[in-house]
Amino acid sequence: MNALTSFILILVVTGLAFAGGEISSCRVLLDVVLPYAAMAAFLVGLVYRVLKWASSPVPFNIPTTCGQQKSLSWIKSSWIESAHTKLGVAVRMAIEILLFRSLFRNSRAQIRQEGPRLLYSENKWLWLGALAFHWSMLVIVLRHLRFFVEPVPRFILAMDAVDGFFQISAPQLLVTDVVIIVALLFLLQRRLTDPKVRYISLFSDYLALFLLLGIAISGVLMRYFFKVDLEAVKQLAIGLVTFSPIVPASIGALFFVHLTLVSFLLAYLPFSKLVHMGGIFLSPTRNLPNDSRMVRHVNPWNYPVKVHTYQEWEEEFHDKIKAAGLPLERE
């Protein structure tokens, strides 16, 4: 149900964009107003979100330690998984962010009633799918810089060359285009067919996937099948980033779909779970060093509490302490 509603929503947005692109008076709206509004929502929203997180302090040093602590000199400590130095934490975070370390641990549990026996098996598909999607996404976003700057930076050209190393079809087939769609379909399939994941999935989980699929598919269609006027696209893009937008005569309906969905994504991102990309950097179970007995962590709102003092305790149990022959402060 959630999946269906979100799918329909994306179809409706697509339809509106498609229709809007046909009507010339709508073009200013779709080409200029919408991207600016979306970008503004994205920037303001994201900054707000990050500031909001950062405004809550970290009262305790609570890393999840995933390896041997630094203790005695002859015991080898796990300097990344149980990092006690800044460098160790930086490396741990880098591996987490760039390679999805924790997801790599993933396994699958099954139960056999006879025995009973719990069986655990390797399960790296989620890791692979997630990694494939995120890296392709990054490459594709960087690749789009070619529309916003003139001349196109060399690293983008180099990236494209690698991306297109199969050298099939014209225009050249880019590996990331295939990978991102396959990865998204895998993630969607998993959400729909794994009963556990289906059970936890919300409308917004499907919405994100359909939205990204819509963007990827419209992009691919434009590149390989229904060519749009790339010169016009670049003219529009440069116009937008230099704050002197020009609305080109015609680019092609697919382009409006693509641009509208991208705008939707930008505006939606800060208000959805997709902000996880910013949140991971701040996660206290990952970004703190396991040095809490070496260096005192200060809690900015630490406050005095009511305790039961030794004097109160001794007073209450005075006779019993005395009878037991234990020393007293006050005889």
Binding site: F60, K196, S292, N302
Partner: protein, 540 residues
């Protein structure tokens, strides 16, 4: 008291595939054996906690204060502003499901709301409704739901089916730690007087007498003296066990179960024998007679209130530093919280072993050393005479207790000790030990009899891993360094994996330690006969 739990065959008639349903519309009931009873009013009163009254979870009317909803929402807002962990973990979950089958309660019960992600969604849905723009506008579509009494009851049920073991946080790509969320929800529930007796009675006891069991100073001394007598009987050596001794070099803190419960007690014998043998200048405290901290299972504030005794007593007695015994959540509190809560301990010195001269630089600020760090250093520096063959009747495995593993990283020290005091040591499967260790199923204040069904379910993954080494290597002793493990794993293992006993690391040390002037040992510290024939061959 509930009746006998169902047979193991019945308990595992479960499927990990949840039904096709909207979880927000599924209901649960308070079935016997799956929840803990409410806290007695006297305990709330003693601790100055709000809304003391008589009530039980299975009753329809929980006698909440009329403005309970307002109190909870205000409490949420306050905690969102005070804890970055809480705010972040409410926002960034993508529901990838990697954590789903990592929780021992899910693996044992297959209740989908025991998937860590869904346990968190129980409060995330309320967070979205009242604290996010999308949730306020789009409600259900944005995964939001109203806070109702049913929701509150659901929180109570499922956040007392989490042992704060942090296993899910090892697998989460964002490090979302359900323990943090559980701590917050339990704090919120405490604001309206919804709490369990198994947590608050020990807390009240500890506040008053100094320990969870409510043992008063004279009884404390009696049980330590009793241990001293018992050691003399076994070894022929009379050890000393000073209590409240001013000017001692080291204050020694243990969980109270060590001097009042079995099999913890054998570990206590080990400490006492060890300290005598090396001539350690130490003292117990009858005031700070608890290392464990059930306050931690209630709120940050209660944790601080109970923990304060340790530094206060160290200061009063004028010791140089503090040594701590085998305990799980005690060590999470000491390692990650104590210095922040009740420090700085600038009246203490950086811990140095008086026997080996080793400087425990890793504890230079908190000034408290784990007994396994201390003992492994003694062994490494060859300060102990050990006869591991005196543990030959044990085929040993080691269960990493959750908190020392995932909240500290104490993994190698206990293993080093075991390898030096026992000849037969076998590890359980890789994904059930070290940082991936499984909880006993009874931690965080859930280890009470009325909760037995849930405890056994939660204990299944650990017991099942023990079964693997029992069947493969004949393992008959599971060692661990946690008082709750020692109290509750015997029940879980007897149920799922009969034939495997539970013991502490320093129990093995007690058996292996060759003491000056000792008589020939005929039994181990449990009074079980040693395999003397085998020992002879080893020595020959």
């Amino acid at each position: 008291m509930p009746g006998a739990p169902p047979k193991p065959e019945e308990l595992v008639q479960i499927s990990y595939d949840p039904p096709r349903a909207d979880w927000r519309k599924t209901r649960f009931d308070f079935q016997k054996g799956t929840y803990c009873y409410s806290a007695a009013a006297k305990n709330l009163r003693y601790l100055d906690l709000p809304n003391p009254r008589d009530w039980q979870p299975y009753e329809a009317d929980w006698k909440l204060p009329p403005n309970w909803k307002e109190i909870i929402l205000k409490g949420m807002k306050e905690r969102l502003e005070k804890f970055r962990s809480f705010r972040l973990f409410m926002d960034i979950c993508v529901r990838c499901g990697a954590c789903a089958d990592k929780c021992h309660f899910f693996l044992g019960s297959a209740d989908p709301k025991n998937m860590p992600v869904l346990r968190a969604e129980l409060i995330r849905s309320v967070y979205r409704r009242y604290f996010t723009l999308a949730g306020r506008i789009f409600r259900g579509l944005a995964g939001a739901r109203d806070l109702t009494e049913d929701v509150l009851k659901e929180w109570f049920y499922y956040f007392y089916q989490c042992t704060e073991c942090r296993r899910c946080s090892v697998f989460c790509p964002f490090g979302i730690d359900t323990a943090e969320i559980t701590i917050m929800v339990r704090e919120l529930l405490n604001l309206v007087g919804v709490n369990t007796n198994w947590v608050l009675e020990p807390a009240a006891n500890c506040f008053r007498t100094g320990n969870h069991l409510g043992i008063q100073p004279h009884t404390f001394k009696d049980s330590i003296d009793f241990a001293v007598d018992e050691i003399e009987e076994i070894t022929g050596v009379r050890v000393e066990a000073p209590i409240n001794k001013k000017g001692a070099e080291i204050l020694f803190i243990v969980p109270s179960a060590d001097y009042f419960a079995v099999p913890h007690y054998y570990t206590l014998l080990g400490y006492l024998m060890l300290f005598h043998e090396i001539g350690l200048d130490y003292t117990f405290s009858a005031y700070a007679s608890e290392g464990g901290n059930f306050g931690f299972f209630s709120s940050h504030e209660m944790m601080k209130r109970l923990n304060a005794k340790i530094y206060a007593e160290a200061k009063r007695l004028g010791v140089k530093w503090i040594l701590g015994g085998e305990c799980g959540h005690m060590w999470r509190v000491i390692h990650q919280y104590m210095d922040t809560l009740n420090g700085p301990a600038d009246f203490l010195e950086e811990p140095v072993s008086p026997i080996t001269g080793t400087r425990f630089a890793n504890a230079r600020s908190t000034k408290m050393v784990h007994i396994c760090e201390f003992t492994s250093d003694l062994i490494y520096n060859r300060k102990l005479k050990l006869d591991p063959s005196r543990n030959d009747h044990w085929k040993v495995t080691f269960h990493d207790s959750c908190n020392p593993a995932r909240g500290m990283g104490l993994l190698e020290e206990p293993r080093y000790i075991i390898r030096n005091v026992a000849n037969h040591f076998y590890e359980m499967p890789e994904n059930t030990i070290r940082e991936q260790t499984f909880c006993c199923g009874s931690g965080a204040g859930l280890g009470t009899d009325e909760n037995i069904d849930m405890r056994l379910r939660g204990g299944l993954p650990r017991a099942n891993a023990a079964k693997y080494v029992r069947d493969k290597y004949g393992v008959n002793l599971l060692t661990c360094i946690c008082a709750i493990d020692k109290a509750t794993l015997p029940t879980a293992l007897e149920y799922w994996t009969p034939g495997v006993e539970v013991g502490g690391i320093h129990e093995l040390v007690a058996n292996a330690l060759v003491m000056k002037g000792e008589k020939e040992r005929i039994t181990d510290v449990r009074g079980e006969p040693l395999q003397l024939g085998k020992e002879a061959t080893v020595n020959a």
